[in-house]
Amino acid sequence: MYAQMVQAEGMKAPEEMDERERAFQARIDAGEKIEPKEWMPEGYRKTLIRQISQHAHSEIVGQLPEGNWITRAPTLERKQILLAKVQDEAGHGLYLYCAAETLGVSRDELNAQLLSGKAKYSSIFNYPTLNWADIGAVGWLVDGAAIMNQVALQRTSYGPYARAMVRICKEESFHQRQGYTIMMKMAFGTPAQKRMAQDALNRFWYPSLMMFGPSDKDSVHSAQSMAWKIKINTNDELRQKFVDQTVPQAKYLGLTIPDADLAWNEEKGGYDFSEPDWSEFYAVLKGNGPCNAERMAARQKAWDDGAWYRDGLMANAEKRAERRFAAMPIAAE
C-alpha cells in the first residue's frame, strides 16, 4: 500500500452531521461517485489530498531504488524493460498528482510538502536495492503488495482518484510479472544466483508486509475513511491476502519465506504469519530508515537542477504568446 497511516479529518457521527453532510454520505452509500466541483465536507477533501498525494509521492520516490539499476541491468532487454517500468511509475505519479489537484491544491504545493517532509511516501522506498535480485524482489513483492490495495481503490468514491486507479492497475500487473520473471531466472539459475534471490526475499519480506501499515481494525481514522469509501479494506485484510497469494509463488521458486512461524491455518483458510517489527516501521517513517536522507536529497536535487528548465520554457512560452498577440490585426480600427 502506498498510503500508510493517513489521518482522516473531520470525523462525525451521523447525529452530528448537518443536512448537507448527511446527503453527501447518502450519495457515497448509494455508490455514487463524487466529482471535483461538487460540494464535499472539508474533512473529505483534506483527507483525500493527504492520501492521494502520499500515493503520488510514493510513485515518484519509488523510481529511485529501481532507477539505481537501469545502467547495470544484465541484458539490453532487461534494461529496456526496467526503463519502461520506471517510466510507468512516473506516469502513475502524474495521474495521481492530477487527481489531487482537482481538489484545489497546486502541483508545486504538493511538491513542496514532499520536500519539506510534511507529506510522507511509502516506507518501502527507504530500503536500498543492493543487487539485481532486489529488482526482481521489488517487482514481485512491492508491486504485488501495491496492487492489493490499488485494485480495491478502483471503486473509491472520488471520481478522479478511481479513474487514475483504473489506469494504474492496467499497467501494474506488467510490473509484478517482470519482477517475478527476474526471480525465476535467479532462483532457477546457478547456486550463487539462487542464494541472491533468497537473500533479496529475506530482506524485502518484512518491509513488504509493513507497506500495509499497522493493524487499523480499531482505528477511528480508518473507520471514517472506510465510511467515505476512500479506503476499502482494513490493513490486516490486505496483508493477509498478500501473504496468501505470495507463499505459493515463493514455493514455486523454491525459496523460503523468512518466517519460522508461517503455517497454513485450515480454519481461517489462510496463513498464520509473524508480524513485522513495527518499531522499525515507525523509525523509517520518522526519517531514520537506511535511505531516507538519500531519497530526499535526490528529489531536492531534481527540483533544484530542473528550475532553469522549468523557468526557461515558461519564459519562452510567454514571449511567444506575446508576439502572437502583437501580430494580431486590431479589429476595432
Binding site: E38, D88, L94, R107, D108, E171, R310, L313, N316, A317
Partner: protein, 94 residues
C-alpha cells in the same frame, strides 16, 4: 518565485472512427510541449491515434448546482424516446 506550468486537459482518440475522449490532465508551458507530454504520459501502450490538448482554464463547465435546471426538463419529455409510442404488432418492425 517561479511560475507553475499551466494545466492542460488531454483528449485522445483511441481508434479511428471514435470520438476523442478525456483521459486526464498534465502540466506544460505551451501547447506543443503539452502534446509531447500527453504522448509520453497517456499513450505509452498504443492507446491512441490522435491527441487534443486544451488549456484547463479555457474550458467552461456547467456548475454541479445547475444539474437540476439543465437536465431535469428533458426527463419530463418522455415522448422523445421511440418506446413512448406504441405501434400495433401487425405493423411489424418500425
Amino acid at each position: 518565485m517561479s511560475k507553475e506550468w499551466p494545466l492542460w486537459e488531454v483528449f485522445i482518440r483511441g481508434q479511428h472512427g471514435l470520438n476523442h475522449r478525456h483521459v486526464g490532465s498534465l502540466h506544460a508551458p505551451d501547447a506543443e510541449i503539452a502534446l509531447l507530454n500527453a504522448r509520453d504520459v497517456y499513450t505509452r501502450r498504443n492507446e491512441g491515434v490522435s491527441i487534443w490538448v486544451v488549456k484547463s482554464s479555457d474550458i467552461t463547465a456547467s456548475a454541479p448546482s445547475d444539474k437540476g435546471p439543465l437536465f431535469d426538463p428533458s426527463n419530463a419529455k418522455v415522448y422523445r424516446h421511440p418506446t413512448f409510442f406504441e405501434v400495433p404488432e401487425e405493423v411489424g418492425h418500425m
